[in-house]
Amino acid sequence: MRGRLAPTSNKWAFQVTENTRLQDFLGGIRSIAPLIAAVIPIGLVFGAVAATKGLSPAETGLMSALVFAGGSQFVAMDIWTHPTSWAGVGFAALLVNIRHVLMSASLATKMDGFSPRSRFASMLFLADEIWAMAEFRARVATLTPAWFAGLVAPFYLAWVVSGIAGAAAGAFLGDPVVLGLDFAFPAVFIVLVMGFWKGPETGAVLLVSGAAAVATQHFVPGVWYIAAGAIAGLLTALVAGSREKQEVAS
């Protein structure tokens, strides 16, 4: 790795690469910090929910470590109450996660500084929050593997540990509503949406995808609303984009 990035034996140049890499790693940690504060309550709540469904702390930890996706983990817990429907679990997980296809496609265009192997590895950790912070970074600077690692390492640790803690605490944690812990889940997404606010064109996308999601959720059971909202927002951006181009041309 080091040799490839700094092929010269120039000690000074080597030092500089090392320093920037460390700075990028710390920069990633700094930018994910508020979201770590938000994800710990979610992890606790997930652990507590898993415990009520009969999962042991070990099973909860294994799930958080391997799946590493809040949405699908909550959905899996939800469906787990009616066991043996493997097709149902699989399909629901796929629908909840289908947005990841768009997310990874979007981020893949911003990963020029990554080796092929580190790209595949990075995608393992593409949780909503990490992906959003990586997109933020890509808008202001080149996204480096070190920065991405800075986003992933503390967030992953916080998610797995808080899940296990929640499962172990179980009933002792009390009603999450009384402590206001349940608010953490929507709060995270508001923080992220506000970060992407770029003016009226963002407003149009937000309105359309929000309306499509709410309407679909109202009329269609299940998690189809996620696919509907994402696609509606994407189409809005396409239409807005072509209109912009016409205005420029005329």
């Binding site: 997980a93 997310m103 608010f183 999601a213 909202g229 927002g233 072509s242």
Partner: protein, 104 residues
Amino acid sequence: MGFELSTEMTLLIIAAAIATYMTRIGGFLLITRMKTIPPRMEQALNAVPAAVLTTLVAPAFFTSGWDVKIAMLAAMLVGLRYPGLIMLAGGWVAAMACRHLIGL
């Protein structure tokens, strides 16, 4: 206590993990198969973050009670001026105030 792993749950976890990774690598594989990305497609992809996040948060707003609605609005207003952590705190304070002081 706490270390037991049932076979059925372990299989379910592995299945969920594989399904999740497939979606995470899927878009990446699709986009790298294409030599160049058309500008309009890039434009659409740039809108993906906001669209996806709104999709996840909007139904929660309508299905939740007044306490969470007020807290979400409070967080949004705070977020117009202040960074994420203060925004979270503002929303949480609003949610707790609604529940324990007003009793919504």
